[in-house]
Symmetry: C2
Subunit: 335 residues, 2 copies
């Protein structure tokens, strides 16, 4: 019999469908990945092709060679564009709309066309995290920005359009309703219990142990109790920091090691699955509240969302997080 | 500049990204569809292979030949299974879970392996709707069932696993949170305005006209103002009926004609796109409230949900509903 579990952070339900259970090994990517070149002449993100993008808003360079290591540019096809706050809403008498204002940037993670985060060095990943943080900080300083979403789409099934390793940052002048709902749930828990829902969640996961992938004391990696999709992985800081903007830069080398190790386990264990990575963070201005805790979510895109999910909002997860966490915990990376 | 629009039924935001706009003709399916046989010896839903499924819980037969026209069976790999109500929740001290109880049925829409709804006759589609309704009614009579979701996955990108035309019904012993949120929004509108949000929405769409695909007085078909994905299509009854269980069976021949025509326009206009179809309906016991209005949603799966949607809950729609509605309205089906 299947089990239905409640996501403590959103109160959403997830069906863990053991009738449809697949073993972790069934999730490996059956498509052989094409060999990719280190440089592609048509790729706008490759070194030498910088004129194919907008000018860099941030660039880190190798002090010896002078060539860039990470480069951040405005997205050529932005979902949101600068131009003022959300106050300029247009009321159609019934419908509500506004200009989709904000900033949409691309973080080009590495000069190499064919080097995903999983195959970078810890230092290279730390440089990417530093760029995330620096752009987050720059966006949070803008007067109208309310919410900053950093994310990555790896592979076609994850919605990527360019294969050169890159992440994106979208800063919006509204707070997403999704975030408001998470916040309401977190506030309600805080009011009832006098402590953070996310700290309580991390403690519960540590006490149970069955869904823990990695615990470095500073970061706890687990597959959540009500995991929405197979191998959904959360990386949770143990220090209380509501917003990614409040993260300690001193932690980035350590976080980079943790992130790279998890991505490498997925890369080797599931044969380079398509995945999304998102950084969940408190809205701008709520950096130091105890209500929320920024964290990283990695969501492999192994299964399709279908009509039931669209109709009900209830995910059907075909894998038990206890089993996928064990697989990830036990998997030894090959170096 | 892109526009951000609010979905009046959920208060969710959708970015209509004109920077990324695709023209309707760009959405046609580039993959040539393989020719499919009328009968497949390995298909559990083809006539003659009935022993490969569970026994029929409902079957309509041709009075002349005695062979079945529509056949409903329990799903062999159910997401939920019978066994009592949601009261048997297990509290893990912090996490909430329960047995995933309910019913999961498959509606085999036609004996022909290769005849999608779009290519059936109006009578055949009406028979499918009658089966939906009859199974909905049977589920609503069960004491523990709280919510009934009827849906269809057409094509791989929509999450289908079997190509023989079929729909599914999942009856659950909980009300999805998604439904609760829609309900809260609808109640709030009703309290403020003394009339149904959905009736107001349909009137607004009729008055505007720009997003209307078809208006038969009895059913209004439109692309919603804050459409989540390209070519998202709603079929809205004009009579106030909160639940699909309260739908008039007398309307089914007419609804079948409307549904088939819309699906045929998609089939011919976008070259048989993958899509999901869901029937949104009030929870069981709320059949006759004026708060809600059952309706059909058709969601072509042309674009991928990516990291931004997962991180923010905000959809980026690359098409303007005014343009896609015009395309659908003007498209003349070939018979």
């Amino acid at each position: 019999m299947s089990e239905i579990r409640q996501d403590v952070t959103t109160k959403e339900w997830v069906i863990i469908s053991t009738e449809r259970l697949k073993r972790p090994s069934d999730f490996t990517n059956p498509m052989a990945k094409a060999e990719r070149p280190v440089y592609s002449p048509t790729c706008p993100f490759c070194p030498g092709n910088e004129s194919m993008t907008k000018p860099a808003v941030l660039s880190y360079s190798d002090p010896k060679t002078g060539s860039w290591l990470v480069r951040v540019v405005d997205n050529l096809y932005p979902a949101v564009t600068p131009g003022g706050g959300a106050s300029r809403k247009v009321d159609h008498g019934f419908f509500l709309s506004a200009s989709a204002t904000g900033n949409h940037e691309v973080i080009i993670e590495n000069p190499a066309h064919n080097k995903p985060l999983a195959l970078m060095t810890d230092d290279e990943v730390a440089t990417v995290l530093r760029a995330y943080w620096e752009r987050y900080d720059a966006m949070a300083d803008k007067p109208d920005i309310k919410s900053i979403i950093i994310f990555k789409n790896h592979g076609l099934a994850a919605g990527t359009s360019l294969e050169h390793p890159h992440s994106q940052l979208v800063a919006t002048t509204i707070v997403p309703r999704h975030m408001r709902i998470q916040y309401e749930v977190a506030i309600s828990y805080y009011d009832d219990n006098g402590r953070s829902l996310y700290a309580a969640l991390t403690n519960r996961e540590l006490n149970s142990g069955s869904r823990i992938v990695l615990d470095t004391k500073r970061f706890v990696v687990f597959h959540p109790f009500a995991s929405h999709r197979p191998f959904e992985t959360w990386i949770m800081p143990t220090d209380c920091q509501a917003s990614f903007g409040a993260a300690s830069k001193e932690d980035f080398p350590h976080l980079a090691h943790v992130l790279r190790l998890i991505l490498l386990k997925l890369y080797q264990g599931l044969d380079n699955p398509d995945f999304n990575l998102v950084i969940d963070s408190a809205p701008v201005g709520e950096e130091h509240t105890e209500i929320y805790q920024w964290h990283i979510r990695i969501i492999p895109r192994i299964t399709q969302q279908a009509g039931f999910e669209i109709g009900s909002g209830i995910y059907i997860n075909t894998a038990l997080p206890e089993e996928t966490a064990k697989f990830m915990r036990d998997f030894k990376v090959k170096t």
